[in-house]
């Protein structure tokens, strides 16, 4: 590494005040400039931020979008989640592989292209999709892949090859993406028209405590999946001792099959930022952070522009709406490819510039969160709902939905249905009603709540979507009878194995164990005892894991064992040779046979 490069890196660090808490931004910029964060670069960054090189290495090695090894000038990240694979991602991958003469995971020798897989990028309603140099390409085909390859080889920028852009703000010059919103059903809470400042002007007319009362009265609960009452969270954060308070918006929607926040960020950013500002007013925060998943980098410039306009309109900044001492601003923190950062304490770790490891609780974020200060972490949809409640009243909101679940929920629906997309529906709708709406009546299985939720069979389609029955952050996948439910469960286990932070034993090791044993059954080498083994290992992982990831990651196995047990049993057929099906003697002896140079005696016949 030359002195010139070291100087560039020092400059980047200086731009962030040499603050090690801004490590995500620093590493991201170094990566963008050099195509990797090499070991010498780690040393320079550590020096310029007064930390240890191993701490930088720890961050670089944690996030999927950072690499120590040089990446190609173009990086293709092909989404390989279940839905994208159902709609041809494997064929697209093969087309890319043939066009560039490399395998997925490799870089062309001339450094032109790196080809990678990445889990759900929030485009399950327009699969197969990929991220190419931060730009999104959707509805990929083998022809499209070959065309992209030609464009890249000709030296042109990939997104210049696309004339078409999606609907709504996807066509905005700062977005310019071929993404489609696919908002199929608009409801009054999220996707209704909104005038900037409408909620905020009402908020500042009353006291912060009054705002918290309104949110509590609305019975709004967190939309990310856990369902914690928002008003209580704000009250705790407001009441906790701390020189400063923070409000963080969790826009790291990474649950496979979720893409609702994408549409909110594209079409309703003002509603979201207004919700954050109202929240900041309520809890007494001067600063808010929008943690935006790295997959949505294509929205960054646009969102920064929305923030700038809000500052001009005095909806952010000093003395908001002329209220003395009401100072509040928002910065955007980019993620870099880590599902775990959707967990609120992991998200805080990431904002603080470290690995996305969840933290021990207690203390809870409301007591000690970002940089040790009381912090409220809310979902994108929750904050939008909060803004709307302040605008239209808690009674208006609480009148919608069901008894224990007030308001409406955004569902991201994908898979084997005629109209995949985003639906704003009142809580309490049944799975059957939902399937009729999306044209998925023939479904054999429905995944509610993403892989960490439940896979249910037809026998349970009368169940309802609400906190008291089928709780969900919003991901719904529809599977037809022709899909292999165990193969789907296995893919979800592979996802959790990849996305575990590795902090606690059960999640780090246990998910690999479950995945391997399930694969053994799929391969026809299972035994009846494997089902009980899967069950009790799954229960240990759920009971002992430290955060929500490990506490829910065995769900694909547990819910299929419960609802699709025949799928397991039909693959476990007793053989009459008295051999353990899991033990393949030919394979066990193969290495020895190779060394000895002859077949084992019992196989010579």
């Amino acid at each position: 590494m030359t002195e010139k490069q070291a100087e560039q890196i020092r400059k980047i660090c200086q731009d962030y005040g040499g603050d090690k808490h801004r490590m995500m931004d620093i590493v991201r910029e170094v990566h963008a400039q050099f195509g990797c964060v090499s070991r010498p670069a780690m040393g320079w960054i550590a020096e310029a931020t007064s930390t240890h090189r191993v701490e930088v290495e720890s961050v670089v090695s944690f996030y999927a979008f950072f690499s120590e090894k040089p990446q190609g000038r173009n990086v293709i990240r092909l989404c390989n989640d279940v839905i994208d694979r159902m709609f041809g991602a494997d064929r697209v991958a093969q087309a890319f592989e043939e066009a560039f003469g490399i395998r997925v995971g490799e870089t062309t020798p001339d450094g032109l292209v790196t080809l990678q897989y990445t889990p759900c990028i929030g485009m399950c309603d327009q699969p197969p999709a990929a991220i190419i140099n931060d730009q999104i390409v959707t509805w990929l085909s083998t022809d499209a892949a070959r065309h992209i390859a030609e464009v890249i080889k000709s030296g042109k920028k990939v997104f210049e090859a696309w004339q078409s852009v999606g609907d709504g703000n996807n066509a905005h010059p700062l977005v310019h993406a071929m993404v489609h919103n696919n908002i199929r059903k608009r409801g009054p809470v999220i996707f209704d028209a909104f005038t900037s400042g409408a909620a905020l002007s009402k908020a500042v007319a009353v006291s912060p405590v009054e705002i918290i009362k309104v949110i509590k009265a609305s019975r709004l609960r967190g939309r990310g999946g856990a369902g914690f009452p928002t008003g209580m969270k704000w009250e705790f954060t407001r009441g906790a001792p701390g020189a400063q308070k923070y409000i963080i918006c969790n826009a790291d929607e990474g649950e496979p099959g979720t893409f609702k926040d994408r549409a909110i960020l594209t079409e309703m950013p003002d509603l979201l930022f207004e919700g954050m500002t109202v929240g900041g007013y309520a809890i007494g925060a001067k600063e808010g952070i929008l943690y935006l998943r790295g997959e949505y980098t294509y929205l960054l410039n646009y969102l920064e522009d929305v923030l700038a306009k809000r500052r001009q309109a005095n909806l952010l900044g000093q003395g908001i709406l002329g209220v003395p001492n009401f100072d509040f601003d928002i910065r955007i923190q980019m993620g870099a490819g880590a599902y775990i950062c959707g967990e609120e304490t992991a998200l805080i770790s990431s904002c603080e510039g470290t690995r996305g490891d969840p933290k021990n609780r207690p203390p809870f974020p409301a007591q000690q969160g970002y940089l040790g200060f009381p912090t409220a972490v809310n979902n994108v949809e929750t904050l939008c709902a909060a803004a709307r409640i302040v605008d239209k009243g808690s009674t208006w909101f609480a009148a919608q939905g069901s008894a224990g679940s007030s308001g409406a929920k955004l569902l991201s629906i994908s898979g084997d249905c005629k109209a995949p997309g985003i639906y704003e529906l009142p809580f309490g709708i049944s799975v059957n009603e939902m399937l009729a709406m999306v044209g998925g009546e023939d479904a054999a299985a429905v995944l509610v709540g993403g892989p960490s939720g439940q896979i249910i069979s037809r026998a349970e389609f009368q169940r309802t979507i609400c906190y008291d029955d089928l709780g969900t952050g919003g991901a719904v996948m529809v599977f037809g009878a022709h899909r292999d439910i165990l193969a789907i469960a296995a893919e979800f286990m592979a996802f959790f194995e990849e996305e575990s932070c590795g902090y606690c034993t059960t999640c780090r090791v246990g998910n690999t164990i479950l995945k391997n044993r399930l694969q053994r059954i799929i391969d026809g080498k299972g035994q009846m005892g494997d089902l009980a083994y899967l069950e009790h290992t799954a229960h240990t992982i759920k009971a002992l894991s430290r955060c929500g990831l490990g506490q829910t990651s065995p769900n694909p196995i547990l819910s299929t064992l419960k609802n699709f047990r025949d799928e397991y049993e039909k693959r476990i057929t007793a053989k009459d040779d008295g051999m353990q099906p899991a033990f393949d003697i030919a394979q066990a002896l193969s290495k020895t046979e190779e060394i000895v140079g002859r077949k084992s005696t019992h196989r010579q016949a």
Partner: protein, 241 residues
């Protein structure tokens, strides 16, 4: 108020001080809760999950959970034992542990907890990972095969040695321990006398030239199971009563 509260562990009432963790309170009361990543003098980590107990019916790591008045804690139940056996097994199959010729045998906490829980062979399949060995340092030897990622060396180096020799890199099943150096351990400021070296519960960090200074048969856990030292504290207290 003296800051003293009472709570119940396995039906037995014990006294605890506000601010203590369940693990510390249990230790003081002579009740052994198995643990690996927790170590006296280091901040709690909560990563190995071996010390999981049921607090009013909910699983919690005893090493990170503060005591509260009226807590009813279950420690020795068949269900918790099954969980602990499973998680100890996971640590064994995740790495490459060869007790029969490991110089830490008898002083190894992983081995000792496994014996105490009655583990003879793991229920999970071995993963046989390829992990590195670093013998570059003149006084200390590191074998990644035997590392259980408990983070004791990471914390001991930071909190007791005022250094920052160790850290984790990678994530999930690929997570591993590494050092604050461009290439190897000898480039760090680790010294042979560092507390971080002693903090390793297994045979992953070893001081060179000391392997068999205490012969097999006379080691920490050769004659009494791990936890006896904590429980014998209770016996002493009983006699005093």
């Amino acid at each position: 108020m003296s800051g003293k509260i009472t709570l119940i562990i396995d039906g037995q009432e014990i006294e605890a001080e506000i601010g203590q963790t369940i693990l510390d309170a249990a230790d003081a009361a002579g009740v052994y809760i198995p643990r690996l990543c927790a170590m006296k003098g280091l901040s709690p980590h909560g990563s190995c999950r071996v010390c999981t107990v049921h607090v009013n019916g909910r699983p919690q790591a005893a090493c990170t959970q503060p005591v509260a008045p009226g807590m009813s804690i279950e420690n020795e139940t068949p269900e918790l034992k099954a969980h602990r056996v499973s998680v100890i097994d996971m640590l064994f199959v995740e790495g490459n542990h060869y007790c029969m010729f490991c110089e830490k045998s008898g002083n190894c906490e992983l081995q000792a907890v496994a014996y105490r829980l009655g583990i003879l062979a793991p229920q999970h399949d071995y993963m046989f990972p390829c992990r590195g060995v670093d013998a570059s340092h003149p006084e200390v030897f590191i074998d990644g095969n035997r590392c259980i990622l408990c983070g004791r060396c990471v914390r001991a180096s930071q909190e007791l040695d005022n250094k920052n020799v160790f850290q984790f890199v990678g994530r999930g099943i690929h997570k591993r321990l590494t050092f604050n150096a461009p290439n190897n351990l000898s480039q760090t400021d680790l010294a042979g006398i560092d507390k971080a070296v002693d903090s390793c519960p297994v045979g992953a960090i070893l001081r060179k030239g000391t392997a068999f200074s205490v012969p097999i048969g006379q080691r920490l856990y050769d004659n009494e199971p791990i936890g006896s030292e904590i429980e014998s504290g209770r016996r002493t207290n009983d006699r005093q009563v």
